[in-house]
């Protein structure tokens, strides 16, 4: 069921070149192998949701995509560029400068927001615009304010994270990433740390991004979001991609017992 793209540069024109190509990716923490021969391709403007039980390797897979986690075997390519390692064999880790060039194109939104607590919402968004993009302070400030307005936080931009609700903090974190104009945004359980009534506002911002054509890879437990917004859903279990396809297929037509069982517990929990 998995989409295998073994050729390093599939296609030559930028349009049909995949955004992310993961081939034969494996990763271990010590003795435990957490990712086993993962193959997945994400095209431009696609929204791919990674679902599955805890410990199935979803977050680790996501973190390999911007090399917050290293991997031992296989490869991840971001717009054709190998992530984390230099081309050739034996492979060596990329220089920090090259890794940073790659990460400029890949944003990441974390479960616990990870806003810097000593900066206001606006300063959090402005920081990378100044330090990475090299924008003059005034221009960066204007852009940060515009981004926060876009996620509905025009009136809270001078508040520190400790004075913001979880939903507001996560919207600041998304604004901080979107301001950098990445080509891909990775979401690592963006709503899992939120009170239920705050989940909606964050999902709405994500839906708007998807509608704008942003390429997104989302690790989530929000099955509603996966069903309605994702172009594709990949189900992970035990470090394998067990099923990968359109949401309708994975949610309703899967023949995989593990997928059915996982979704069954979801249905039971959500229908009191």
């Amino acid at each position: 069921m998995t989409d295998v793209t073994a050729s390093p540069i599939a296609g030559s024109s930028p349009e049909d070149r995949p955004m992310i190509t993961i081939s034969h990716l494996s990763k271990s923490f010590g003795e435990t192998q957490v990712l086993k021969d993962i193959n997945l391709t994400v095209h431009k403007s696609e929204v791919v949701c990674l679902i599955g039980p805890s410990g199935s390797g979803k977050s680790t897979l996501l973190r390999c995509l911007n090399f917050l986690e290293s991997y031992e075997a296989g490869e991840v390519r971001m717009e054709g560029r190998l992530v984390g390692y230099t081309e050739g064999f034996p492979r060596r880790k990329m220089k920090n400068r090259e890794l940073r060039a790659l990460r400029r194109e890949v944003g990441m939104v974390f479960q616990h927001f990870n806003l810097w607590p000593h900066m206001t919402a606006m300063e959090n968004v402005r920081e990378a615009l100044v330090q990475v993009k090299g924008l003059p302070l005034e221009e960066a400030t204007a852009k940060a304010e515009a981004m926060l307005t876009r996620v509905g936080l025009a009136d809270r931009m001078h508040a520190h994270p400790s004075r913001l609700s979880g939903g507001q903090q996560q919207r600041v974190a998304i604004a901080r990433v979107v301001a950098m104009e990445p080509h891909v945004i990775l979401f690592d359980e963006p709503t899992s740390a939120l009170d239920p009534e705050l989940v909606g506002e964050v999902l709405q911002v994500m839906k708007d991004l998807a509608a704008d054509g942003m390429t997104m890879v989302v690790v989530t437990h929000e099955m509603g979001f996966a069903a309605n917004v994702a172009d594709r859903v990949a189900f992970l279990d035990g470090g394998h991609i067990v099923e990968d396809g359109p949401p309708r297929q994975v949610f309703h037509e899967s023949s995989e017992p593990r997928v059915r069982q996982f979704l069954q517990t979801y249905h039971e929990r959500n229908s009191f």
Binding site: L68, F110, N114, W116, H118, T120, Q131, V132
Partner: protein, 224 residues
């Protein structure tokens, strides 16, 4: 109490106090700088480096300040380090403090939540900017009380410099006591001066702490 003594010895005591402040401030600044660099270097993935630096820290923490000062001042010339008394005092204070400051900074680095750094890394911030803009401001909050504490300890360690004949407060006070036999008055005034310095340092420390943590406690207008 013989107040006339203070009129006569006041100027030299004040000069000594000024020297104490100079040695303390310079020694503390040097110690913090070395300590910060030590803690930073221990995080580099260079085999053996962390072990060497730890050995330095343990040796400095494991020997008396007095002994270190003598080694530097009297032993220094044998390996080509010839320092005048005041410079030796400041450098000695810096080395002594650096071991303790290094441990404080090490704890501070470890206390910075990993997620703050990951967020910065994923936004492609350069390592220098991550250190300056994210790690140091975050760790300062948790280590400030320990830093101020060490600074206070060092104010009182300056008395040891008097044995190198650095003309600081202790040295001037000893001169006064030797010349006048007014031991009690001398020690009393000396204690007052040190207490004054410590009080100023700890007040400044508390003010800095309030400033650094204001964003955690501020009363915001609207919290939703």
């Amino acid at each position: 109490m013989d107040y006339d003594l203070f009129l006569r010895y006041g100027p030299s005591l004040l000069r000594g106090f000024g020297m104490t402040i100079l040695c303390w401030a310079a020694g503390t600044a040097l110690g913090m700088l070395i300590g910060f660099l030590l803690a930073l270097a221990r995080r580099l993935p260079i085999p053996g480096l962390s072990w060497v630096l730890r050995a330095y820290i343990e040796v400095v923490r494991g020997t008396p300040f007095l002994v270190q000062l003598f080694l530097l001042y009297s032993g220094g010339p044998f390996i080509g380090i010839r320092l005048d008394a005041t410079t030796a005092g400041i450098v000695g204070l810096g080395i002594y403090g650096s071991a303790y400051f290094a441990e404080i900074f090490r704890g501070g680095f470890a206390a910075v939540p990993k997620g703050y750094v990951e967020a910065a890394e994923s936004l492609a911030l350069p390592p220098g900017a991550i250190l300056r803009r994210v790690v140091v401001p975050t760790m300062l909050i948790s280590i400030l009380p320990a830093l101020v504490n060490m600074m206070i300890i060092l104010t009182k360690e300056t008395v040891v410099l008097s044995i190198l004949t650095v003309p600081e407060l202790m040295y001037e006070a000893q001169t006064m006591a030797a010349e006048t036999f007014a031991a009690f008055e001398t020690i009393f005034v000396m204690a007052l001066f040190y207490w004054l310095l410590v009080e100023v340092v700890s007040r400044l420390g508390r003010r800095a702490e309030r400033k650094l943590t204001s964003h955690l406690t501020q009363k915001a207008g609207a919290v939703s």
